[in-house]
Amino acid sequence: MGTKHLIEIRDMYKIYELGDEPVHALDGVSLSVDDGEFVAIMGSSGSGKSTMLNILGCLDTPTKGSYLLDGVEVAARTATELAHIRNEKLGFVFQNFNLLPRTSALENVELPDLYMGRLSLRSRRKRALELLKRVGLGGRHSHTPAQLSGGQQQRVAIARALMNNPPVVFADEPTGNLDTKSSIEIMNLFTELSHEGITIVMVTHEDDIAAYAKRHIVMRDGRVMCDDHGEGGMKTTEQVSQLVKEALS
């Protein structure tokens, strides 16, 4: 076994039957992510990075292959089992925030625990307020998404992702709908969370956003073209661009 990885996938295939020819969205991918890593999965659209994130996030199941999450095989589970896994072990941050409309920030953050039912009403409220404070929205817990800016909505989404204290947070183009200033704020927040030991797996196609991550994985046609394993320390945007260019050449 060696060291136990937080995420370990082996020979993962995702094949869609579209028309006559099967499309290999994932074509035999193997990789592992350890506790505390900050990973950026990069690639152009159609490279399979979103499919990868969906499977890693237990939102989708692979056609073939094994996926050990926290040492547990999760590749072939029922919808209900996957729902429990997502609830207890995974946090999600989406490109378009996906907050419940006309629902306060506080209630949005509380939601994952409502499905888990672990905390009492008071401690749930207390934890949600703490998380909102942590993402810098201390005074805005009663605001609805419509009353918040894009950056603020994404902060609420991050607080929600952390509600059940998951070992890993998945982010799908978290800055895709944000302006530059908000993007920087959100990425700084992710960096802080990473320093606190939270594992982050992020999908992006922007080199400057990927530069915030420690490890970079470049994909094309359902395969991993390059994985720097976080070696060589933090990279600048230019270094990331260079990495991607080399990987795809």
Binding site: L59, R86, L100, L114
Partner: protein
């Protein structure tokens, strides 16, 4: 997620689309209100009919002599001449374990006169038992006594209609009226019973001892009576009583085994059964109408829930992504449908009761709202919600979270 939380989510979703929710409820409201109102009116009518029939008598069984033909000529019911007051006395004496009262009845249509007033009416010759048998109340004065019955005294009691027509405001007690020019003393006035089911005025009556009617008004050489009214101790013994009365009468009338009965018994259960079958048919029809209206309301709910699922597909995807199980999603949408239908049901019950009371007061119909059927109608609205809400909720629960999140 606890049921209470899911319930709150469902209620909140309903309040987000107030107009739509109201219109959806309306289908159920109309259905339930119609059921409640029609049932209240129908049951009111039935209860009134049953009450009127029981007002005819107390565990009443009527025995008529059967008109046996003389050659080619058949007599009508009550026209046979085989039944006598002796039969009534025999029944009273020998079947006292089954029968609590027997009254022979002889009728005579006469012109009644008091002072300058006159009135054509029916004189019934009865025994004192008739008070018990037919639930008569003596309002003023007294009923004639057994002693007066025995000696065929010329006394009588009058119904309110007769009193009104002969005496107007005068006190009839102790006054003498003339029946077929024979004087009878009025000793009492009967309490009003109103019209019976057939619209006949039960108060248009004069009652005298049957002995007196036979002797002074019929003046017949036969001792026959028109009928007998019996009051059973209990309706449970109806069949046994009919059998024993029959056996006794056959014996008294010296009927051989091959001969048919020369009498016929009737009781109110037959009439009740007829009413029961009519109202039973009505109930079936109303249930059908109710089922159709609730079906339409239910389809409305299903339609709206399908729209609601599509509209909130992103919410479903998000909820699933953060840990909602298919069962959680199913329950959320199912509860929403059930809340819509039960709120509709509750409002429908209120509207139905108010509507029935309103129609009843305008039309002067009796209204009977039964708790049982009201609860049943309300419970049925919940069933409609579960039935028609299940398919949309099931569809929502089977959705794939990625497809939902990607849905545009």
């Amino acid at each position: 997620m606890s049921m209470w939380m899911i319930f709150k989510v469902a209620v909140r979703a309903i309040f987000r689309n107030k107009t739509r929710s109201l219109l959806t409820c309306l289908g159920i409201i109309v259905g339930i209100a119609a059921v409640i109102a029609v049932m209240a009116i129908g049951q009111g009518a039935q209860t009134m009919m049953v009450k009127e029939i029981s007002s005819m008598g107390n565990n009443l069984v009527m025995v008529f002599p059967e008109g046996r033909g003389h050659g080619p000529v058949s007599g009508g019911m009550g026209q046979g001449q085989t039944m006598t007051a002796g039969d009534a006395e025999a029944i009273k004496k020998e079947l006292s374990h089954l029968v609590q009262g027997v009254s022979p009845q002889v009728r005579s249509n006469v012109q009644m006169m008091y002072a300058s007033k006159n009135w054509a009416g029916n004189v019934q010759g009865v025994s004192t038992d008739i008070v018990l048998i037919s639930n008569w109340v003596v309002e003023e004065g007294r009923f004639f006594s057994e002693e007066e019955e025995k000696r065929a005294a010329r006394v009588c009691v009058v119904g309110t209609t007769v009193k009104k027509n002969l005496f107007q405001d005068e006190d009839p007690i102790g006054k003498t009226i003339r029946l077929k020019n024979i004087t009878f003393k009025v000793v009492g006035v009967l309490g009003s019973k109103g019209a019976n089911n057939w619209g006949q005025d039960q108060d248009d009556v004069v009652m005298a001892p049957y002995t007196s009617v036979q002797r002074y008004l019929q003046r017949s050489k036969f001792a026959n009576i028109n009928m007998m009214n019996l009051s059973l101790i209990s309706m449970d013994d109806l069949d046994e009583a009919k059998r024993e009365v029959g056996a006794l009468l056959r014996q008294r009338h010296h009927l051989a085994d091959y001969q048919d009965d020369d009498f016929e018994t009737r009781d109110t259960t037959e009439i009740m059964n007829t009413i029961g079958s009519v109202t039973g048919l009505m109930t079936v029809l109303l249930t059908a109408v109710a089922a159709i209206s609730l079906l339409v309301g239910g389809i409305g709910i299903m339609n709206i829930m399908l729209v609601s699922v599509t509209e909130r597909i992103k919410e479903i995807g998000l909820r699933m992504a953060i840990g909602a199980t298919p069962a959680n999603i199913l329950m959320q949408f199912l509860l929403e449908a059930v809340v819509l239908s039960t709120v509709g049901g509750a409002v429908g019950v209120v509207v139905g009761i108010a509507g029935a009371e309103f129609i009843g007061s305008v039309k002067g119909w009796p209204i009977l709202i039964q708790t049982g059927s009201t609860i049943a109608a309300f419970a049925f609205s919940a069933v409609v919600g579960v039935f028609f809400g299940f398919y949309p909720a099931w569809r929502a629960s089977k959705l794939n979270p990625i497809d939902c999140l990607r849905y545009e």
